[in-house]
Symmetry: C2
Subunit: 400 residues, 2 copies
């Protein structure tokens, strides 16, 4: 008798070298496939935050800016994230939201490219905020936006292109774009590559340094489990740092912030990307959450991610009646991030019912079911359950 999918799931969980990491998270009977929106809570974080609140803030108060290392947290945590991005130390700073960092990165890239390059290419399928913010950056630097599908960027880039802003993984479909090839093509046209890593970092290797990326941004509350709205990061390649000209030159990016001089003089290195006083509570929760990455190789994470999404697609094919859902996520590994997006005419009702039954994904209006696979804590039994519950729900929700 051949192995059932449920048996296969248990076997794969037994063989999973990362499986033991799950116990580091506060998880319950819910199958949580929304870690690509908000990562689960690493179980040790509340105790660390109790110490931050009661001792660092409550007892040391102002002294903690020095004694508890609050002041240097943005660059220290940046260096902690850097290996996950394939970046050497000194190039990543944690600060502000992703949107604010997109503004810094796009304006910074446009200025690095010079005034004779007056076009900024923006991923036409981008997460909306990137497009809105890039539009403002273009308006405020005297440039224009050209929406281009990522695959078309190599042919679209030319002598007028200052930079391109591209998502590494499409938030809607889960499609993985060719960071290496697109970056090389942009460089071939003399343009800079700015990557948004929100949906890739922590789920697959990025290789910022290896592929010569110029600037990058990303959030930390998805695959990095930093907590709701935890601060984002900005990567500025070392070769660009001395000329990086931030549109938000706050006092935290000054070379001598406590000199409090009226004239601005930018600090060296990654901390030139800082702006104002960092949100320490959110930032230190992130720092604590990153402990779960100790000893984890992102190549192993990627291998498990692909095994999970392969297995989910296999379970969906097996369980779900033909025609009810259509995968928007590419089948080819080289084009797949760490989520599976299924188009489904009844998506709103289906996702609501799936959540009621303990399988949490999310909806992207009007008709996309998103299932995110976070390899640090999602297993194969979760995956089989998600597909099975989806089939059960679809059997009860009439086709539209």
């Amino acid at each position: 008798m051949s192995e059932t999918l449920r048996e296969k799931a248990l076997r794969l969980d037994g063989e999973d070298g990362l499986g033991k990491l799950r116990e580091k998270f506060a998880l319950d009977e819910v199958t949580y496939l929304d870690g690509n929106s908000l990562g689960a809570l690493p179980a040790h974080v509340p105790a660390r935050m109790a110490d931050v609140l009661t001792r660092e803030w409550g007892e040391l108060r102002i002294r903690s800016w020095d004694e508890s290392g609050w002041w240097t947290a943005p660059e220290r945590i940046g260096d902690r994230i850097a290996p996950i991005l394939g970046a050497a130390p000194g190039q990543v700073v944690v600060s502000d939201s992703t949107s604010v960092n997109v503004f810094k990165a796009v304006v910074g890239a446009a200025r690095l490219a010079g005034d004779d390059r007056d076009e900024i290419l923006v991923d036409a399928t981008t997460f909306p905020t990137d497009g809105y913010i890039a539009q403002s950056a273009a308006r405020m630097t005297g440039r224009r936006i050209v929406p281009v599908a990522p695959a078309d960027m190599p042919s679209a880039a030319g002598p007028r292109t200052a930079a391109a802003l591209v998502n590494h993984v499409d938030y809607r479909t889960g499609r993985l774009h060719d960071l290496r090839g697109i970056t090389a093509a942009l460089h071939g046209a003399g343009a800079l590559a700015v990557w948004d890593l929100c949906h890739s970092a922590g789920a697959l290797p990025v290789g910022l340094d290896a592929h010569g990326v110029d600037l990058a941004v990303g959030c930390t509350y998805k695959y990095l489990n930093g907590g709701p709205g935890s601060p984002a990061y900005l990567y500025v390649a070392e070769r660009h740092q001395a000329a990086f000209d931030s549109p938000l030159p706050g006092w935290n990016s000054h070379s001598d912030p406590f000199g409090m001089t009226p004239g601005y003089e930018a600090a060296a290195g990654a901390l030139r990307g800082r702006v104002g006083t960092p949100d320490i509570l959110s930032m230190l929760a992130l720092e604590s959450a990153l402990d779960v990455w100790d000893g984890v190789d992102v190549e192993d994470v990627r291998a498990k991610s692909l095994a999970l999404t392969d297995f989910f697609l296999e379970c969906v094919r097996e369980y779900v009646p033909a025609g009810r859902v259509e995968s928007l996520t590419p089948g080819a590994h080289a084009e797949r991030g760490s989520q599976v997006a299924l188009r489904c005419a009844e998506a709103p009702a289906v996702m609501a019912e799936s959540i009621r039954r303990g399988v949490v994904g999310d909806l992207r209006r009007p008709d996309v079911l998103r299932f995110g696979f976070t390899p640090l804590y999602v297993g194969f039994a979760d995956t089989e359950r998600a597909a099975r519950v989806l089939a059960e729900v679809l059997a009860e929700v009439p086709a539209g």
Copy 2:
């Protein structure tokens, strides 16, 4: 026999209607006069944050964006702060750092003023970040910065003035500027008034609506006790909201953020000042911290603040040998914020030793001792002690 200063302190503490608020804070034997840099921890905040971490994030996870009210926190907490600023609901949003909000406010004000007004006045004695950011805002909107002392703004404002950025209280000297008169004078010249309330809000009445202020920003980690780096706020007067054109139009400020449409359409009201995903942990700590304001009248806070700084100056005059310190803080109540700044040639050594002896103020290089009086938890005995310790330290630190 006349009353000693120590006896007077005890009498004043006994008469202090706000004195009972002190027990709401985590305080120890330290006399903490640095609440104008980082407010003390309200004692109930750690328990609230434990619930946010373990239940809202750990158990509800993504559902908390709706069910725990995370998504609406920026405008909800803004409305909580509004009465402290003298603002009606719907005009204040909590989001980002002060620096980022200065950028939104100055760019927004310049655009509201129109293109024929090409000058932005900036408080020549400003906290540095305001000047740095205003410079960037001017550069990116085709305007130029004119540094002007606040008292000179009425005469400096003219037909080319788009807006002025002014500090309500000078961070260094503690001087309180005439918000009402300067705002009226700017309006007389057809310019907008943008106020930085970092060193005033929570210590004295601001009266944003009553005085017709156009835009304002401020931090929440000083007199509002929101915690290290807690998010800042932006006030946009209702009459300007429909035309307010943010330079950081992130998806959180979209009229339909989850529509995820490629075109930007600004939301109505205060939340047009939002940008990206809010830093929920820092934000909810702030919201919890604001509970200590329940039932507190900011006029009472102001009365106590003036009594504290009057008493501190009296104690300094009595205890400290003539010539060792000089007050930079105005004697007139109408010109005094809630701190006392003393120029002292030996300031670095003196403050270090004062802190070792349990009286925490801070230093502004090269020669200013700052003592902040936060009326919710600083009393008159603290104040007498601070002056006494200062005198003791000065007796041991030789005059330079």
